[in-house]
Symmetry: C2
Subunit: 152 residues, 2 copies
DNA sequence: AATATTTGTTAGGTATACCTAATTTATTAT
DNA sequence: ATAATAAATTAGGTATACCTAACAAATATT
């Protein structure tokens, strides 16, 4: 049982990327982590040691990297936050995908569980809520058009 | 003309706090900045030097602190992001005020101008949009109640 | 099996951003 | 005016998180 002590945004990003790599490649490798995070491979090792010490990944020198159960929980939580935020940005606010992804990537560290579940409910509500003969989201798009809000 | 070079989240927070203090006290003082940011006074000086070098504040040793025009622009932008996000969290997602404030404080650094203006439009839309005999926001509250979404 | 290539690690360095404790300057009270 | 108090700065230290370049290990090629 290690101190949870709050993960830094950076370490959260590592976990998220490792989960992504595990899904596509079964295991994560340092080089790929570096590429995804846009950093140099030399920077990865230190972070892996920290994550290992915190009991979030299984790591041995020169070995493959996998998430522990504890690490997986966190990684999945962060990934979910990312997806929900991106969903909101793309499907509700009508932000372009790549930009939405980048913004979600920054916001995911800033949103707590309570806010998250409220946001999930809100998106659910928007999809359920019939507004005139369309729905709230489509009505918002129409509203933007009518008011000349930039659609880029 | 200094390099803009992207302000760190921390320096953004300093500007935001300085603006807040200028509004209530005409000038900001190191001690108050430290209090608002929950850091020790000794940590403030270095940051002030950096902000001064970037041309964002007027600062002289042992003197008062005010924002330059450039610093004011940034501070106002950040403050606006904070307010819009808080407004969304409190009035749309129905998050409790203090918690919303803390979340807004973290999210304000993560949201870009395009997303910001989309969010502004969206809040506007929600207020304008009549839904049944109430409006979208109230309808969302009802939806949460009907679906047992936690109201804390 | 030996060599080449790729990948990972280490070591030393930079930048940010905080801390504490000592010191200096400014302000206030006598 | 002087002494006491308050506020700001400095100096030295810690932690995070990155960098580059040199080195080591593992994998692939012939």
């Amino acid at each position: 049982m290690e101190k949870d002590a709050e993960l830094s945004e950076n370490l959260e990003d590592y976990l998220e990327v490792i989960l992504e790599l595990e899904k596509t490649r079964k295991v994560a490798r340092g080089k790929e982590i570096a590429q995804k995070l846009n950093i140099q491979p030399g920077s990865v090792t230190g972070a892996l040691k920290t994550l290992d010490k915190k009991g979030l990944i299984n790591w041995e020198k020169y070995g493959y990297i996998t998430l522990t159960k504890k690490g997986l929980n966190i990684a999945e939580n962060i990934t979910q936050r990312h997806e929900v935020l991106k969903n909101f940005l793309v499907n509700v606010l009508q932000i372009e995908k790549d930009s939405a992804d980048a913004t979600a990537c920054r916001m995911e560290h800033a949103i707590d569980d309570t806010t998250m579940s409220k946001l999930v409910s809100f998106i659910e509500y928007l999809n359920a809520c019939p507004h005139a003969e369309t729905n709230c989201t489509r009505a918002f798009v129409a509203y933007c058009e009518a008011n000349g809000v930039d659609q880029t």
